[in-house]
């Protein structure tokens, strides 16, 4: 269990629109998307912070922040409601000479210099609210100190064919970073940046100021600041991470990450009492499985009422599954109401949607490679509708 590192301020980038998630992020930011039956994506990073003893945490918001603001509040669910500053929401704002939106990740940090300064930390930990993983940041800090590093970047090996989606590093024997390329066309390494950066604050400050003076910079860590630091000879180390880590940036990967929770030996153990994932808990009763229900190989949250059959599904808080309905390989988001004799296969049904009796939602080819169908939030699908799509 972690040591309290008050000398470290965490800055959590939660402004992302997540456009590849399509309709899921029309009304909310990507970190606020529901996951795992009762969580939102950002809960994993916030829980990592509290479990690692890291606070204060600044949460940088920009895109559709209301749900996120309401969700985070002063951080009580994550035990981050501290007297001396646990969590602070940092939206863009107007100053004497006018207002500025955050241009890139580095710019977002730069615009909140004074927030970091008021805590006068030794380290700044930059995090992203978009990823699903459990990580003890206090170990990262210890590694950083042992390496006497200026910057430490957490890395994870990814399949070679996916490497070009990430910031990719080449490292020497001693883990010192030799090269960093953001989304390379021809990756020369499969060590991907997890979007977890630990900086010595005095150094980062200099580089952020340098970056601001560069008129052609897009003020992004991966594209500008990290390469510049490397160029100037900073001591930069990779911190290899071996646990579960997932960028849920697409509908398919969000579905996949949910499915990966179902296995008995799931790599992402959310049942560990020593590393709990915290979230806002609604006042819902235990779920009720009726005499006609059949539930197998699934996750079911509180407040659900199930009369139908559920196989390989994540059923989130407050979902109603009517009699005769059969759900397979799907993610049902909170407070969805499914009528009788509904059939769903390989789909994500988003929050508060109502699907009436007899509807069928499935991919045409039906096989395991079929595309995942997304039904957006707060809609009503009329009786006996069919939503299908030719598989990819």
């Amino acid at each position: 269990m972690a040591i309290v590192h008050k000398e470290c301020v965490a800055m959590l980038l939660a402004g992302g629109k997540g456009s590849r998630l399509g309709d899921l992020t029309r009304e909310l930011a990507k970190p606020a998307v529901s996951f795992g039956g009762k969580y939102r994506i950002i809960d994993f990073t916030l829980s990592n912070c509290t479990n690692s003893g890291i606070y204060p945490v600044g949460v940088l918001t920009q895109y559709q922040p209301l749900i996120l603001n309401t969700h985070i509040g002063i951080g009580a669910p994550w035990d981050l409601d501290r007297k001396d500053g646990g969590v602070s929401i940092l939206p863009p704002f107007v100053r004497t000479r006018g207002g500025k939106w955050y241009r890139g990740t580095a710019d977002a940090i730069y615009q909140n210099l004074f927030f970091i300064e008021q805590h006068n930390p030794r380290y700044v930990l930059v995090l992203s609210g978009d990823h699903i993983y459990k990580m003890d940041y206090s170990l990262l800090i210890r590694y950083h100190e042992e390496q006497e590093a200026d910057v430490t970047i957490a890395v994870v090996p990814v399949p070679w064919e996916e490497a070009s989606r990430f910031g990719v590093m080449e490292v020497a024997e001693d883990k010192r970073i030799v090269d960093f390329t953001e989304k390379p066309e021809q990756p020369r390494s499969n060590l991907a940046s997890m979007g977890v950066y630990l900086f010595n604050w005095d150094l980062l400050k200099q580089f952020l100021e340098m970056d601001q003076r560069d008129p052609v910079s897009s003020n992004d860590f991966g594209k500008n600041v990290i390469p510049l630091m490397l160029e100037r000879g900073c001591r930069m180390f990779a911190y290899p991470f071996h646990g579960y880590w997932k960028d849920v940036g697409t509908v398919a990967s969000l579905w996949e990450a949910n499915m990966e929770l179902l296995a008995e030996d799931s790599k992402l153990n959310i049942y560990d009492h020593d590393w709990r994932i915290y979230t806002v808990n609604p006042s819902q009763p235990p779920h009720y499985l009726a005499p006609s229900a059949c539930v197998e190989h699934s996750l079911v949250s509180e407040g659900c009422f199930v009369e139908g059959t559920v196989r390989r599904c994540v059923i989130s808080t407050g979902v109603h599954v009517g009699a005769g309905s059969v759900l397979e390989d799907s993610v049902i988001m909170p407070y969805v109401h499914l009528g009788k004799n509904v059939r769903i296969k390989r789909a994500i049904i988003d929050e508060h949607t109502i699907i009436k009796d007899g509807c069928r939602i499935f991919s045409k080819d039906g096989g395991d490679g079929a595309e995942i169908i997304l039904v957006e939030e707060h809609v009503v699908i009329g009786k006996n509708s069919e939503i299908s799509r030719q598989g990819g």
Partner: protein, 368 residues
């Protein structure tokens, strides 16, 4: 409801609850998969808009204090008023015998409170009520005291209860000992609405006479001195006095209409937040007609049962007609008509069954 405060009276009559009240008072006995008994009356008060609720305790209340905390989970962590726990002033048996003198011993609290009407309720009543209509009735009738009653259902099983005889306008004319099972009988519940000033006067009389007296007894004795009216408790109700009632009323939660009304209407029942993930059903699990809380991992089969947060059921285990609090059930174990308190471990292959209608209660922390 700004002018109404709540008093929840937790008396020590938990001895009939066997192992479940060895370490805790009756109000903090776990119920319904994630709640404790007190949650129902406390949520009813909070959802009715009461902002000042005092819980009077006698003994074994540490789990209750831990459960209630600052009152935040009921939105009662208020700067003005809010939730307050009232432990006994001193270790004084005379004070503890009756609730009236105990209220009177805490009269400074009542003096400090600005509300003029009090709802006094026992901590072992299962219900989900909005008190607004009852308070309006109380005021419209210009009653001294309004008592609540529930109409017994046919065939709900017998136990002698106090029953009310009412005039057409709702005034109580007599209280008799009756059978709950006689359908339509109006069973007196330990929920009262009365002016704060009257509560203090009754307390003062009891204290001065050295009587260890209960409010309910006083009301019955004073039917002619006071204007006592009765109001029907809407919706589902249960009074949990002993282990067989506990078992019976738990099993009633497995009826769809009970689940849909008790937990949702007119308001949600709040309880202390635990951070448990959704329950995971593994390949080969089989569950029906059961109420399952979060945080369980289930590989076996569960039928007509209630599983609290964090129960582990290994492959091949069978659970039937049982209530299982946070416990671990080994592979191929077989449990029927049992109530397991927290932290019980049932080893693989073990068979434990209770008698028909009489569940077997296993106390906290036992290994079977």
């Amino acid at each position: 409801m700004n002018n109404v405060m709540g008093v929840i009276n937790v008396n020590g009559k938990g001895d009939l609850m066997e192992a479940l009240t060895q370490q805790r008072c009756i109000a903090s006995v776990p119920f319904g998969g994630k709640y404790r008994l007190i949650d129902f009356i406390l949520s009813s008060m909070a959802n009715s808009g009461l902002q000042n609720v005092a819980v009077f305790t006698r003994e074994k209340y540490r789990t209750l204090m831990d459960h209630l905390g600052s009152g935040k989970d009921w939105d009662l962590n208020r700067k003005k008023d809010g939730l307050i726990i009232m432990p006994p002033h001193f270790c004084d048996d005379r004070l503890l015998r009756g609730d009236l003198s105990n209220f009177y011993a805490h009269r400074d609290f009542f003096d400090r409170s600005k509300q003029e009407t009090v709802i006094v309720a026992a901590g072992n009543i299962i219900c989900n009520v909005n008190f607004q209509n009852a308070v309006r009735f109380h005021r419209d009738q210009k009653a001294d005291i309004t008592v609540f009653y529930a109409v017994a259902e046919t065939g709900r099983g017998g136990r002698p209860r106090r029953c009310l005889a009412l005039a057409a306008n709702g005034r109580v004319q007599a209280v008799t000992e009756g059978e709950e099972k006689s359908a339509g009988g109006k069973v007196l519940l330990n929920i009262f609405i009365l002016p704060k000033s009257l509560l203090i006067i009754l307390g003062q009389e009891a204290a001065a006479a050295g009587r260890g007296e209960l409010l309910a007894e006083r009301v019955i004795a004073d039917l002619h001195r006071l204007k006592v009216f009765a109001y029907p408790l809407p919706g589902y109700f249960a009074v949990i006095d002993d282990i067989s009632l506990y078992y019976r009323h738990s099993m009633e939660l497995l009826r769809r209409q009970t689940w849909e009304s008790l937990f949702f209407q007119p308001g949600l029942i709040h309880t202390k937040v635990k951070d448990e993930p959704p329950t995971r059903y593994l390949v080969g699990s089989s569950i029906n007609n059961s109420l399952i809380a979060n945080g369980c991992t289930i590989a076996g089969s569960v039928e007509n049962s209630i599983l609290f947060r964090g129960v582990q059921v290994q492959r091949g285990a069978k659970i039937k007609d049982s209530i299982i609090m946070k416990s671990a059930i080994g592979a191929e174990a077989w449990l029927e008509r049992v109530i397991l308190d927290k932290d019980v471990r049932v080893s693989a292959g073990r068979k434990v069954t209770g008698e028909r209608g009489i569940p077997l209660v296993v106390s906290k922390g036992k290994n079977l």
